[in-house]
């Protein structure tokens, strides 16, 4: 830890703390980014400092992915990793923010990592202060009355808004990769519809899992568990998000996207959630849930499920496994006590094998992409380093089967996916090239025209 530059970071972070403690009900993402970006630019905080902070807290990863998202994308970066401190039962929320493409395009890889580290550590620290105040409140009896000023925050947590944001970003990745001219209205409608559907699915998931959530450290503070909102209101909220969301997708984009959205909600709430407690097959179902949003983005743009959609879905599907299996490795106690059937508990060997298998599959899928005319041949070449790295970590996890290798694999998966999608986008085969070759699908144009009509 470099002691020489320690004076400034605490102040910068203190700004974050105060801000966070004060504004609990307001979505904090925009301002936090500003703060962190500021700090990032000043490079006051060294990489080592944050690595140290990361090591200080024992990470008990939660999959949260599954539980969070409508999990339309189950996986996408789990927003919350709860850490348990040994002395007290304080919950420290360690948040990995979704990748913001704007930030990423502006910085190089190393600074991006730093930014990530800083975000995570800063948020961790910020949450510590908040949690300290919270745990005192926690021990008191509270009136079960709905307060309108708290409602936005409660609904945000109910719908797992950060996970929803990640789901929407994978959908936009799918939209962006589709070989059609970019349509802003279609894009916005698809994103909004997907976001609403995701909110609905997440709310229903939380509605189903109240007693289980109360028993697991990661999920103890959900609104329904804490009685901040009644189950009836949660269901109404889910309906009021889901129905307009699906309607928006069906009528404003195209019926195929709407059908996929509805199917995904069903898969998540009625298949994945109950299956979690019945058999380990839930992981595969959850991976499909995570794979569908980019496919929805693709169908929103082109109106049909081509090979490209399946490939993108396949990439997300394969990614889920190293991500989730690594995450669940550290949560075995909670899963066992809570009664969740997860591979990491019941079939640990399978858990690691599957994670490794899918890391390697990612390499294979990256090679297939140019063969399907979605990207140029530079894509497999450029993505090979990151794919090899995650496969290497997957292999280490397979061989060592311990906490540190699972953590390394998990954290790698967090930046691996955004980078892969970004590289894919930059290697996207341009439409001009395709037009020259006469490859442009005519259907794409039709879909684009349809969308313009109300």
């Amino acid at each position: 830890m470099s002691a020489t530059r320690r004076c400034c970071p605490p102040r910068a972070l203190a700004g974050l703390f105060v801000w966070r403690v004060r504004n609990t009900g307001v979505p904090q993402i925009p301002c936090r980014f500003v703060h962190i970006y500021h700090v990032a630019n000043n490079r006051l905080i060294t990489f080592q400092y944050f690595n140290f902070l990361k090591r200080m807290y024992v990470t008990q990863c939660n999959k949260d992915l599954r539980q969070r998202a409508k999990p339309k994308s189950d996986s996408t970066v789990s927003p919350f990793h709860e850490l348990q401190q040994l002395d007290q039962e304080k919950k420290v929320v360690h948040k990995i923010s979704p990748v913001s493409p704007i930030h990423q395009l502006g910085s190089e890889t190393s600074s991006r990592n730093e930014l990530r580290e800083m975000k995570s550590a800063a948020e961790t620290e910020g949450s510590v202060i908040q949690v300290g105040a919270e745990s005192k409140e926690d021990r008191q009896w509270k009136e079960m009355k709905l307060r309108l000023d708290e409602l936005p925050g409660i609904l945000a947590r109910l719908s797992k808004i950060k996970l929803t944001a990640l789901v929407v970003s994978t959908t936009s990745a799918g939209f962006a990769m589709a070989p059609v001219p970019f349509e802003l209205t279609c894009f916005l409608l698809a994103s909004l519809g997907t976001g609403l559907a995701s909110c609905a699915a997440n709310s229903i998931n939380q509605f189903f899992e109240v007693p289980f959530d109360s028993n697991m450290n990661r999920t103890k503070n959900r609104p329904l568990v804490r009685g901040q909102i009644s189950p009836l209101l949660a269901v109404c909220f889910a309906a009021s998000c889901g129905i307009p969301g699906i309607a928006l997708l069906t009528l404003g984009v195209n019926p195929l996207t709407g059908a996929l959205g509805a199917f995904n909600i069903f898969l998540y709430t009625c298949c994945y959630t109950p299956l979690k407690r019945m058999s380990i097959a839930n992981t595969w179902v959850g991976a499909v849930v995570g794979a569908i949003p980019p496919m929805m983005g693709w169908t929103a743009a082109t109106g049909s499920l081509d090979a490209g959609a399946l490939l993108l879905g396949g990439i997300l599907y394969s990614w889920q496994f190293p991500h989730f299996n690594a995450l669940s490795w550290g949560l075995r106690e909670d899963y066992s006590r809570g009664g969740y059937c997860m591979m990491s508990v019941t079939h640990p060997g399978l858990c690691r094998r599957v994670a490794l298998r899918h890391c390697l599959a990612l390499i294979g899928l990256s090679v297939v992409a140019p063969a399907l005319d979605i990207t140029t041949w530079t894509f497999p070449i450029i993505s090979l380093p990151i794919n090899l790295y995650i496969s290497y970590l997957g292999f280490q996890f397979y061989r060592d089967a311990d906490r540190s290798s699972s953590r390394k694999l998990f954290f790698c998966s967090l930046w691996h996916l955004p980078m892969l999608l970004l590289v894919m986008f930059t290697c996207k085969k341009s439409l001009l090239e395709k037009e020259d070759k006469g490859d442009l699908p005519g259907g794409g144009h039709e879909a684009a025209m349809e969308i313009r009509l109300p």
């Binding site: 926690d138 009136e143 079960m144 189903f208 407690r277 075995r332």
Partner: protein
């Protein structure tokens, strides 16, 4: 909760079950429907509390026994020189977690069914109560506006 309050109160998580107990408010002119709702919620709460308290206690107990037997097999004591409790690392505990989960699977399946039934019933009753209250309020509004 204070005596004059007109709403339910929710407390801190219970030590054994980790569930938060709720004290339900009984309004003076409670309708039959509202009473059914309250009783359903109370019953669900009690059943959940019973299940989880027992389950968590069993978990803690079996965990202790497992650690004890494993330590004994290794020839170690429960407490080391400094007086701290000796623990096994995660990999050794994994066997226990796996065993515990498979032993309790059937219990969990039964509990899941019960919980889903309770949950749906309570939410449905809540919906009915809310609907009745809304209609009552609308009728009251119409009466007042009429006057």
């Amino acid at each position: 909760p204070p005596a004059h309050s007109h709403s339910d109160w929710i407390g801190p998580p219970d030590r054994h079950s980790n569930l938060r107990p709720v004290i339900f408010y009984v309004p003076p002119e409670e309708s039959a429907l509202e009473r059914r709702l309250r009783e359903a919620r109370q019953e669900a709460q009690d059943s959940n509390q019973r299940f989880w308290a027992r389950h968590n206690r069993a978990f803690r107990q079996e965990k202790e026994e497992f650690i004890y037997s494993r330590l004994k097999a290794k020839g170690l004591e429960m407490r080391d020189e400094s007086g701290h409790k000796a623990t096994l690392n995660a990999e050794e505990m994994a066997d226990f977690y796996k065993d515990f989960l498979s032993k309790n699977l059937k219990k969990h399946l039964q509990y899941n069914r019960d919980w889903y039934k309770h949950n749906f019933r309570i939410t449905f009753l809540m919906g009915q109560v809310a609907l009745v209250r809304a209609l009552r309020w609308l009728r009251w509004r119409k009466k007042n506006v009429g006057q």
